[in-house]
Amino acid sequence: MNLFQSIMEQLLNGLRTGSIYALIALGYSMVYGIAKMINFAHGDVIMVGAYALFMGMTALSLPLPVAIIFTIVVCAVLGIAIEKVAYKPLRNASSLAVLITAIGMSFLLQSLALIIFSATPIPFKSIISMKGIKIAGVDIPGITIITLVVTTAIMVALTLFINKTKAGSAMRAVSEDRGAAALMGINVNRTISMTFAIGSALAAVAGILYICQYQSITPTLGALPGIKAFVAAVLGGIGSIPGAMVGGILLGIVESMSKAYISTELADAIVFGVLVVILLVKPSGLLGKLKAEKV
């Protein structure tokens, strides 16, 4: 294998992981935009999605497409429930109280999974059976193709939804000014619920793609992609939709290149190093707007 092929393959690996990070990062960013909080339980929604898919396919013996829809619905409902139960009562509380609640929610979900499923990893056979292809000597695995197609389609659809539909502009209005949005007749609570539902549905899809890659399910499986995607969201500019996409993909590529050509052990350090450098140069993240906080 020559250097070109090797670099291309690492690039594709990075794109694949990165686009999964991007899906998760979108959830962080959308929720931050509308609720002005970091939903630290977001990574654990991925984990719940993984178990939901597993249960859907085994215990409920649903056909695959139905099991996927089941997974997405479970996560969307979970997202709405988390917001209603944990965050909504704290709308006017200090951001520290909200942060602690979010961390608590993350532990709660992990503990529940531990009680129900135990810590023993559940092996999971990838649901993607597509054969890979070879272009110019570069192997492109089926899972990479599917991941890229699915994530691209979702990001395009989401961008259109946010920018072109009435519900999308209502979402942007609520992010900017809840009071003024209410005066327009926009139901702010419902819009926030919808945002959590969409973010969690994206996490469900990310979770499915993620376990197809790692082929094992544990109660803490969401923690690592969760934190990486959070970094990606900050990198891209938290609150920015295109920022989350760019941040996720960039992070995936940096990580994969570092692992391949520098050192596996140092890869995470390099990723965080990139974050620090970018934030030093542009504190609002790559595509973020630095807004003067309203007083």
């Binding site: 009435k166 502009s169 209502a170 942007r172 209005a173 900017e176 000014d177 009071g179 003024a180 949005a181 209410a182 005066l183 327009m184 007749g185 926009i186 139901n187 702010v188 707007k289």
Partner: protein, 236 residues
């Protein structure tokens, strides 16, 4: 019967009482001005009427319907629009998107287009800048956008909170002319202003507010010649 009636309203911010039991009415077709110094409670009253903050005591009725406890997003569906203090346009949305959000609760696609055309006629500057982000407009243009956005809901009554604040004299003239136009076309107006002189000059009736209480009310032209009003609010 009054179109909008507020009775014995009391509003608190935490422990602090901002509105200390006041009543007022707006009749259909009127322009009513609410004047008072900084911190008198004018904005608080409008926010309470349109459901953005809750009242502690009192009753708010609109066209005979009790709206005291109605949530903010329902108010516009009853035919009440609010041009908030500081304009509060959606800065990162285009002028066009802002206007479309004004018609958020309407479903009559074709009529919405007609209203939009009317708004563009009334505010030609907005049409010229329809694809521009609202945050890039000048203060006066943002005020026009905030008014246009409120009018997009085809309100029966429009509540305006200091529409002339921070504007150059030319824009102030223009804004007041537009308010008169809006009133002449049949929309009832409740106008909050610190520019008491201008407000009284276009209003039918007025209420004078001091630290959460109404201290004076009456016909605008009577108040305009009232000695205490002259001294305190008209700078004469």
């Amino acid at each position: 019967m009054a179109m909008l009636s507020v009775k014995d309203l009391q509003v608190y911010y935490g422990m602090i009482q901002a509105i200390k039991g006041l009543s007022f009415e707006v009749n259909e077709g009127e322009v009513v001005a609410l004047i008072g110094a900084n911190g008198a409670g004018k904005t608080t009253i409008l926010h309470t009427v349109t459901g953005l903050i809750p009242s502690k005591e009192g009753k708010i009725e609109f066209q005979g319907k009790d709206i005291t406890k109605a949530p903010g997003h329902k108010i516009v569906t009853y035919g009440m629009a609010h041009v908030p203090e500081g304009r509060r346009v959606f800065a990162n949305l285009s002028v066009y998107e802002n206007l479309k959000l004004g018609a958020y609760t309407r479903n009559d696609k074709k009529e919405i287009e007609d209203t939009l055309k009317m708004i563009y006629q009334r505010f030609p500057r907005l049409e010229e800048r329809k694809n521009q982000m609202a945050g890039t407009l000048s203060g006066g243009e943002q005020q026009m956008l905030a008014m246009g956005r409120a009018l997009m809901s085809q309100p029966k009554i429009i509540l305006m909170d200091e529409p002339s604040m921070g504007l150059s004299p030319i824009f102030v003239e223009e804004i007041f002319k537009i308010i008169q136009d809006v009133a002449a076309s049949g929309t009832t107006v409740l106008l909050v202003e610190q520019n008491a002189k201008k407000a009284l000059s276009i209003a039918n009736r007025a209420y004078v507010l001091e630290t959460g209480k109404i201290v004076l009310e009456g016909d605008a032209n009577v108040l305009m010649n009232d000695e205490s009003v002259k001294k305190a609010y008209l700078g004469e």
